[in-house]
Amino acid sequence: MKKYFAFFRLRFSMGLQYRAAALAGIITQFVWGTMEILMFRAFYHADANAFPMTFQAVSSYVWMQQAFLTLFMAWMMENDIFSAIVDGNIAYELCRPIDIYNMWFSRSLATRLSKAVLRCMPILLAALFFPAPYGLMLPVSLPAFLLFFLTLFLGTGVTVAFCMLVYMACFFTISSAGVRMVAVSVVEFFSGAVIPLPFFPDKIRRIMEILPFASMQNVPLRIYSGDLTGSAMGQAVALQLFWLFALTGIGKLLNALAMKKITVQGG
């Protein structure tokens, strides 16, 4: 456990080093958030009755999404890992007395967390000061806020576990770029990164909510904005736990298969 923590620390301080990148990221996400909200505003003006959430909830959803973007964006995968798999540098990693899956998992988690820590505060603070329906609302209650945090972590876990599947898939394909692009598109769409899930027609939404992708950003963001409450909320958290275990399990299985393939075929 200690060595994985060491990896985590190394990555985390590497992430902190890029100050200019963080500043640029904050500005970018701020603008994206603003544009997103302006777009929703136009639709709200067009037909307020067709809006599935309150406008305030949508604004909060968008700001939280931007603040914690680095936790959930599927395209933020580790390029080093891809190139290690493709050009065979993975041999070095295999020489170390550690489990590849755990190492990469802690590493990805650290990258995402370090970036999020740097970026979330300024965005959240600024968003709090935005005028009423456009800004970030304060959490509804303390328990809801704590639950938001819990699901935020679970959601990050599910995202990383899914990315691990993508890395593992690269051991078995020739074009990692292709796999990656398709995986990213699917995650973006089904997780509610393109438009929040409540905006989908009910039938489609019900199916989407069961998929692992809904356990990523959808759950924490909707809990915070007060859109997900009561028994639906309990169900969502349970699903998150289920997917976290299921995806890690599949990932470890694929990992074992990949290692076998490497050692048998010699890379």
Binding site: R9, S13, M14, L16, Q17, R19, A22, L118
Partner: protein, 262 residues
């Protein structure tokens, strides 16, 4: 004729100690250091001369080559190569020079060498007769006939270096800059490269400026060496000036570096 006078080039780099807390500190406050890559450098090189430009890592060798080839603009000083200022008359100037970076490739990785050469013909606007003539000559001298139809990724390092050198000479430059041309090569390839450079200098009277860490390159190729350390020229003379009583040039050079604390 190459003249360089009182050239100065400074870089700004950020510094940071290792560790978690300093990583965090650097978030809010960054310290910078100024490094004098070149500090008042002057020399003159005549046409047809072969010069070894040596010095430890980070001494300013590459910076000099980059200024001479028009890549970098120095803060101070003048530099005149055949009547042109490299960074001001870049396009005119680089028509007359060839550059080989030993650690980088200018050939296209996935296509046969010949395709890269054809592209260079276009880039340098070489007329077809002189292109054919040069290609023939270079193929002959560097023994490339077997290699030209092979994709670059399938060549060995030695084969690739021979092609790289040919690529830099297709337009018949008057000056050739070689930045560590023998790095990583096996003994046979090294000898082939050295032989070729000697022949080139003799037959075409090409000026050659060579940076290397391999003292055998220097011994085989040049009479004159310019030794640079920490951005200043420490010696401009012949290999014998530092050789003195040491058994090998390598040892002599190491002793020289130590005595100058570089």
């Amino acid at each position: 004729m190459i003249t360089m006078q009182h050239v100065r080039k400074t870089y700004k780099v950020s510094k940071r100690d290792a560790g978690f807390s300093s990583a965090f500190k650097a978030l809010f406050h960054k310290e910078y250091e100024y490094i004098h890559a070149l500090d008042d450098v002057s020399f003159t090189i005549c046409d047809g001369e072969m010069v070894g430009y040596i010095g430890p890592n980070g001494a300013g060798k590459s910076s000099t080559i980059k200024i001479l080839s028009g890549i970098l603009t120095p803060e101070e000083g003048t530099c005149l190569i055949n009547g042109l200022i490299p960074w001001k008359n870049r396009i005119e100037h680089v028509k007359n020079i060839g550059v080989v970076f030993g650690q980088r490739s200018q050939l296209w990785w996935d296509v046969p060498v010949m395709d890269s050469f054809e592209l260079l013909k276009e880039i340098y606007k070489i007329s077809t007769p002189s292109y054919n003539h040069n290609l023939e000559q270079l193929t002959d001298m560097l023994n490339l006939s077997e290699l030209l139809k092979t994709p670059v990724r399938q060549l060995s390092l030695g084969q690739r270096m021979r092609c790289e050198i040919a690529a830099s000479l297709l337009h018949d430059p008057k000056i050739l800059f070689l930045d560590e041309p023998t790095i990583g090569l096996d003994a046979v390839s090294k000898l082939a490269v050295r032989d070729f450079i000697l022949k080139l200098n003799k037959e075409k009277n090409t000026t050659v400026i060579l940076t290397t860490h391999d003292m055998q390159d220097i011994e085989a190729l040049t009479n004159r060496i310019i030794l640079i350390g920490k951005g200043s020229i420490l010696l401009d003379g012949t290999i014998d000036d530092i050789r003195k009583d040491y058994d090998s040039t390598e040892e002599a050079l190491a002793a020289f570096y130590r005595s100058h604390n570089i």
